[in-house]
Symmetry: C2
Subunit: 276 residues, 2 copies
């Protein structure tokens, strides 16, 4: 993650946003992910610990190693986990995921959530991570895909502001449309038994907690956070930007609906060589 | 359904396509829909009986009345159900859903699948249907939404051909982007306890049956079926059309992925007046 310019988690606002996001999404994304007591699990790119809390909650007796490239994020992650999952067994390690200070096959499982979307070469990252995973161990990868955003009332201005976020993430070396590629990426990196599932978040008037927690405080907040960058890059002007954001907020108002799909993949390290 | 020009189910090819679609999708769409023994269920717009077979399979002791505006479709539906669900109790009735020959509150439940998308005024249709539903009875509505189509490799040509299908359906008085509107539509038609769930179909190399049954034989076949109409309307030219279809087929080839979201709504008739 040293190789990209766009990394989450450096402002208080961002930290709160990522916390909100993790809380609302936790059940959707973490369902099905539990690790046996005593297993060694590497969380790659833990950021400020938003997912670490949920990993430790779902698997209280697993032993986690959480890696991030940023000392500041690790400090926040450590205090978040201490406050919200004090039982958690987590070793915090500052490292670049492309150059991990671990032995071959040292981990039983890998967990990689909202990380590949920021990497210029996610295929290379996945192939490299396989080195530290024991044969038969699993990798779990979770990514969103902004192309899945679907809402009522529809609005070309709203789609445009989402498009600006996609373009900026792409210019920074990432890919906000990566979810749909998880299966070919994992297969191409020589993982076996790849299973990808869509996990779809849907909010309307009948689910006010999701409208607030997801549509407003996660998705719209994420798009709004690139406003200055989008204007500075000349992708849009203030009037069009404001209209796009206002139209997104209409999808969170009475009679509005909002849908977004995450992709969750689990795959196995078949060991040396290509999978059979 | 007499009020629209675009109606499924008149050619042998279409009939086979809708049969394939129902088989592949049945588990996804019908999960959770079962009616008690002896209950009276109205299927509105049964077409060629693709869903009727699954309704009768999931609720073998319910009594169905299946309505369609087309005698030809009803004849096909009757023979399909006789062959595939011979135990089914179904009365077949030719009628316009806007002018149903039934008494007030005659049915315990209504089932309306892939019908509203063809109507110029789905809100009016839903409000009208409420007349024949007893207070406390449920309506189940299922619709797709072509805006949810997401695929790898991405292709602007592929999105364009999907857009042509959307435009033609719209010109015929329908709306291929209706799924996202089910909650406000049902609420606006004075139904209560509205619950909408996304039901997402996802296909990749690891799910060859879905790639074939859904991506190729349902979705791409549906788009391909409007080729002549799209060319005649001047929406596209042969080269661009062929490229769009070829790009869609790439999403069903090695390394391709395809995702589509249906919306399933269940709501209750609160009786006379507005819901509390």
């Amino acid at each position: 993650m040293t190789t990209v310019g766009y990394v989450h988690g450096y402002s208080a606002h961002e930290t709160r946003r990522l916390g909100d996001q993790a809380d609302t999404l936790a059940q959707l994304l973490h369902a099905g992910t539990t690790y046996p007591a005593g297993s060694r699990v590497l969380e790659v790119g833990c950021g400020t610990g938003a997912q670490t809390v949920h990993l430790a909650t779902s698997s209280p007796d697993a032993h986690f190693v959480a890696v991030d490239v940023s000392d500041a994020s690790l400090a926040q992650a450590r205090s978040r986990v201490a406050a919200r999952a004090p039982w958690a067994q987590v070793d915090w390690v500052r490292a670049d995921l492309h150059d991990l200070p671990f032995a071959d096959a040292e981990f039983d499982h890998l967990f990689v959530c909202f990380v590949l979307e920021h990497l210029p070469d996610p295929a290379r990252a996945l192939a490299g991570l396989r080195r530290v995973l024991r044969p038969g161990g699993t990798v779990t990868v979770i990514e969103g895909d902004h192309g899945s955003a679907l809402f009522h009332p529809d609005s070309s201005y709203a789609h445009a502001v989402i498009g600006h976020q996609v373009r900026l993430q792409s210019a920074a070396g990432g890919n906000a449309l990566l979810g749909r590629q998880l299966q070919p990426l994992l297969t191409g990196a020589d993982y076996a038994d790849v299973v990808v599932e869509p996990r779809t978040m849907y909010a309307d008037d009948t689910r006010p907690t999701l409208v607030d927690g997801f549509t407003r405080n996660t998705f719209i907040a994420m798009v709004e956070s690139v406003r200055d960058e989008a204007l500075a890059a000349g992708l849009t002007n203030r009037a069009d930007w404001d209209r796009g954001i206002a139209d997104l907020h209409r999808t969170a108002a009475d009679g509005g609906t909002f849908l977004y799909t995450f992709f969750k993949a689990v795959a196995v390290n078949p060991g040396a060589g290509r999978p059979s």
